[in-house]
Assembly symmetry: C2
Homo-oligomer: 231 residues x 2
């Protein structure tokens, strides 16, 4: 490795990792919102944009991953910083998955754009709004090491679960009322299940943040049994 490259590697410190991860979060947030916009407006151009741009999110994940490993190898951080950087790696992984979910939603949007238009989606864009706010805030919580924000995000997860349950029941009803709705409603069930996973993963990140800051393990709370059929 050239001296020049070595120097550049050493410049990549925790702040840079945090900054890059925040950029990654922004990309994922945009992907989710755009996929839902594509769905709402039956906009195939937007849907294809999300599918195409997912490759950039994937590349970003690999870059952040390498940056983190280089940081550990070169700086040999101790307890707190080491925990921080391994958390960053996990969050990075989670964000990449969320990007995949956005891509899945965009594919459903493409599929649905070929079908006749249907009634307004209402609850699904609402779910998406909460889910993207959770993505944004879980990164805020991480960057600021702020458990208050983290707990706030975790609470919003329950809201999303309840909405998901409602969306699921409504879509079942739509199918029962008219079999012409079956194909579209099934696609939307999958969309809402991806949004629910995005909210779930944001919650996981917040639980990771709380553990990072307080050492307290609040991960893996019991799920609400009522939501059986929709999760």
């Amino acid at each position: 490795m050239s001296e020049d490259k070595k120097t550049r590697l050493f410049e990549k410190d925790l702040d840079k990792i945090t900054e890059t991860l925040t950029q990654m979060g922004g990309m994922v947030e945009k992907a989710i919102l755009t996929s839902i916009l594509a769905l709402k407006n039956r906009d195939t151009r937007l849907a294809k944009e999300v599918i195409r741009d997912d490759a950039e999110i994937d590349q970003k994940e690999i870059d952040i991953d390498q940056r983190c490993i280089q940081y550990i190898a070169l700086q040999q951080p101790k307890a707190g910083d080491l925990r921080f950087v391994t958390s960053a790696m996990k969050i990075n992984n989670d964000l990449e998955r969320m990007g995949d979910y956005a891509e899945s939603i965009a594919r459903q949007a493409l599929f649905l754009s070929k079908k006749p238009a249907w009634r307004p989606l209402v609850n699904i864009p609402l779910m998406a709004d909460i889910a993207t706010s959770m993505v944004r805030d879980c990164l805020n919580a991480f960057v600021r090491r702020d458990t208050q924000i983290a707990y706030d995000v975790i609470q919003r997860d329950e809201e999303v679960d309840k909405m998901q349950s409602k969306v699921y029941k409504n879509l079942l009803n739509d199918m029962l009322q008219d079999k012409n709705n079956i194909e579209r409603a099934s696609a939307l069930i999958l969309v809402s299940s991806k949004l629910e996973r995005i909210a779930d993963q944001s919650t996981n990140i917040c639980e990771e943040v709380i553990y990072l800051v307080t050492g307290e393990n609040v991960r893996h709370r019991e799920n609400i049994t009522l939501e059986d059929s929709s999760s």
Copy 2:
């Protein structure tokens, strides 16, 4: 920390991490198979067992995570070993998610056990068999650093995608034919989508293994566009 504890920590080396991760893989594999058995046999006892045992998988994840961080902090591994242990952390995270999917399937099994019995599931247990073989083999690939096994698993992912697409179409047909099928078919669509995610995550692990061994990035191949409506 006592001297005794310190000594014990140092004993926990890469082999131990690998061993624990393999145990974790076994637990997840069992959870998936049991959740499908619960679904097939309408066995609520088995379903509840999976839901209850998920807490053990969650605990195992935390243990492995801590073990990996302690290893890095105490041994300060260089390039290869460091990459190996951070890969282990990612795989650990992936396995925990797969455990969540198994729990989701078990919850659907519980839900479906309250509904009238239906036709045999056929393709879903078949998908589950392939998906669990992928979980087992992606860990084999990691432990042995064997890219041949890894590529083999990645190929099976396409098989699962095709089956998922078929299952989805069959379930849509069931719903179209008789609206009494709608609730049960929708639950099964969610089950098959979890199995597809399990296969996906096993593929991610294999791509990680190939990267670990060869430095070649085969991650994030293009998805098959035909599967739009079922992914």
